[in-house]
């Protein structure tokens, strides 16, 4: 009897150890299951624009045509929310995947080339991969009702087929959304075509580009060539007193005074289609934005050093013509292909 008990105890102990080992192994991150056995997914080759940084694609969410399509379907479907909204409600393709109006007193950051971002939102409050930020969107922002999602025969079947899951979780939704948003790449602006030698710029566009990429305008240190954002947080001297909470920017994330007024450098692709600029939409035209950088930068203690350099303590001092040329160049960043590409549009099925 004693021996029998010992064997049982030993067995329990060993099983416990094995269980612990297995559970420890499984804990770090839920992996994406393979598709339904018998269903063969079609690999999708994401083509990045020339001279863009390497794109990080998580091993467990490699792109497949079917999963991207599923993500697109979700992007446009208000099943994601409990109040009738979908991602597309605030991201219109015709505006470069933003909207002309403000939402919660803020301009909506456009969905474009998100795959290269490490920080998201104006204040950089979300970090990580697209899977991470999409998990936030579905779980917290939309608070997607999983019962409703799983009650949908369409999604149950598609997730079963493409992801091999019987019950759809927020993680599955996030992964599908990440598949689609990672495929949303702008790479056919006039500026792209000029850089690849396929098209010439007009005189004014060329002069504007020279202002942009030289000490004259010095836009390029933050709006890096081609990708048009360095992805970093900067205080560009918008405010000397932070009256609104939202004006404090990255400080609201870190609590560090040096981060007061710091915001993520926005992507400038399709910037000419936007109607509100800066984190609070205080400027309504590109001309107003340029006027600000030209002579209204505030000399606060943590303003980016680039903003108050020698000769520019009192602003860029651009002429009216130079300002017009800068706007002409910014207009070359509009990507008509991106805003009309049907593979990013609302599915018709």
């Amino acid at each position: 009897m004693r021996i029998h008990r010992k064997i049982i105890l030993c067995s329990v102990g060993i099983v416990g150890l094995i269980m612990t080992a297995i559970s420890c192994k499984k804990e770090p991150a839920p992996s994406t299951p393979p598709p339904d056995p018998g269903y063969k997914l079609t690999p999708y080759n994401i083509v990045a624009p020339a001279h863009f940084p390497q794109m990080h694609i998580p091993e467990d969410n490699k792109p497949y045509v079917e999963r991207i399509e599923l993500g697109r379907m979700l992007y446009y479907d208000n099943i994601l929310s409990n109040d009738g909204r979908a991602c597309a409600s605030c991201h219109f393709q015709s505006y470069g995947f933003t909207v002309p109006n403000m939402v919660n007193d803020m301009p909506v950051l456009p969905h474009v080339n998100l795959a290269w971002h490490g920080k998201f939102m104006w204040d950089g409050s979300k970090t990580g991969t697209l899977e991470d930020v999409m998990l936030f969107e579905t779980k917290e922002f939309f608070a997607t009702d999983l019962e409703k999602m799983n009650a949908s025969e369409k999604y149950r079947d598609l997730f079963k087929k493409y992801y091999g899951v019987d019950y759809i979780t927020h993680h599955d939704i996030a992964y599908a959304l990440a598949q689609f948003t990672r495929s949303m790449i702008s790479k056919d602006t006039k500026y792209d075509r000029y850089m690849s030698g396929k098209e010439q710029l007009t005189y004014n566009e060329e002069m504007g580009m020279r202002i942009f990429f030289s000490e004259k305008g010095d836009c390029f240190h933050c709006h890096t060539a081609m990708i048009t954002t360095d992805g970093e947080m900067h205080n560009t001297g918008l405010d000397s007193i932070y009256t609104k909470e939202m004006d404090k920017g990255y400080f609201n994330v870190t609590g560090d005074p040096k981060d007061l007024g710091r915001f993520r450098t926005p992507n400038l692709r399709n910037v000419a289609l936007r109607k509100n600029f800066m984190h609070d939409g205080r400027f309504k035209t590109l001309e107003e934005v340029i006027d600000f950088y030209d002579h209204s930068v505030k000399r606060v203690s943590n303003v980016d050093p680039i903003m108050t350099k020698e000769g520019k303590e009192n602003g860029l001092r651009l002429t009216i013509v130079e300002k017009q040329q800068l706007v002409a160049f910014l207009n070359t960043l509009t990507d008509q292909t991106y805003i009309t590409d049907t593979s990013f549009s609302k599915p018709t099925y």
Partner: protein, 241 residues
């Protein structure tokens, strides 16, 4: 029978001793590795970012907000001869813990190391480095000569009118910094030696040229005179410990 046993014992001994002899003449590993940690100080004070607490040779009170640069063309010397060379290009952001290494250095005693801060002409070509986010952000606009920033040293300083920014940027062929330091160290075969490279930020503003932010200028990019000054000052910004 006894004789046979003795013979066998002797043969076994001979074989064993032969083996031992062979083992004795097998040479040890002839190469070792070096790992390098990069640390920073400003005139002997530990570097703390975003704090106007340093004074350079010209008397400017300043802070440091960013130090990004490339290291390349490492050469390890012994008795005036290059014993090991590496053409790896290393990007460094001083706000991130930085360690890099070299493998397969001949076991020997070395007396000095030379390297470049920046890239030489063959390397300094737009889009020639792997398209990492860091390399893309270090790009030097084509219309200003192309290639990459060799150094971005930025911060704030106090002038008579208040706090201003400064940005010591170096790029363009001809302004790469030839740096190095004397240091005696021994690389032992099969082992890893840890070296520490210590950058004194103040040295960018001194030796041989005293750089005064108030009179020289606070923004060097595109200004050949200032970039030359900084490039020449950069030769001794590093010491090796």
């Amino acid at each position: 029978m006894k004789n046979k046993i003795v013979l066998l014992a002797l043969a076994a001994f001979a074989i064993t001793s032969c083996r031992k002899e062979k083992e004795n003449i097998i040479p040890g590993p002839t190469n070792g590795d070096v790992t390098v940690s990069v640390v920073y100080n400003v005139g002997g004070k530990q570097l703390l970012f975003d704090s106007i607490m340093y004074t350079n040779a010209a008397g400017n009170k300043f802070s440091v907000t960013k130090v990004h640069y490339y290291l390349s063309r490492f050469r390890f010397y012994s008795g005036g001869q290059v014993k090991y060379s590496s053409d790896t290009i290393i990007y460094v952001d001083a706000q991130k813990n930085m360690q890099f290494g070299f493998t397969g250095l001949p076991a020997s005693t070395y007396d000095s190391v030379s390297f470049h801060i920046g890239l030489d002409e063959a390397q300094n070509i737009s889009n020639s480095l792997p398209a990492t986010i860091e390399n893309v952000n270090m790009g030097w606009p084509d219309m200003m000569g192309g290639g990459y920033h060799f150094l971005k040293l930025e911060g704030h300083w106090e002038d008579t009118s208040g706090t201003l920014g400064y940005a010591m940027h170096i790029g363009n062929n001809g302004f790469m910094v030839r740096a190095g330091a004397k240091k005696s160290f021994t690389v032992t075969g099969g082992k890893t030696l840890n070296l520490k490279m210590n950058m004194d930020i103040n040295e960018w503003f001194a030796n041989p040229h005293t750089y005064n932010l108030a009179t020289d200028g606070v923004y060097s990019m595109g200004n050949a005179l200032l970039m030359k000054k900084l490039s020449e000052n950069g030769g001794d910004v590093f010491t090796i410990e």
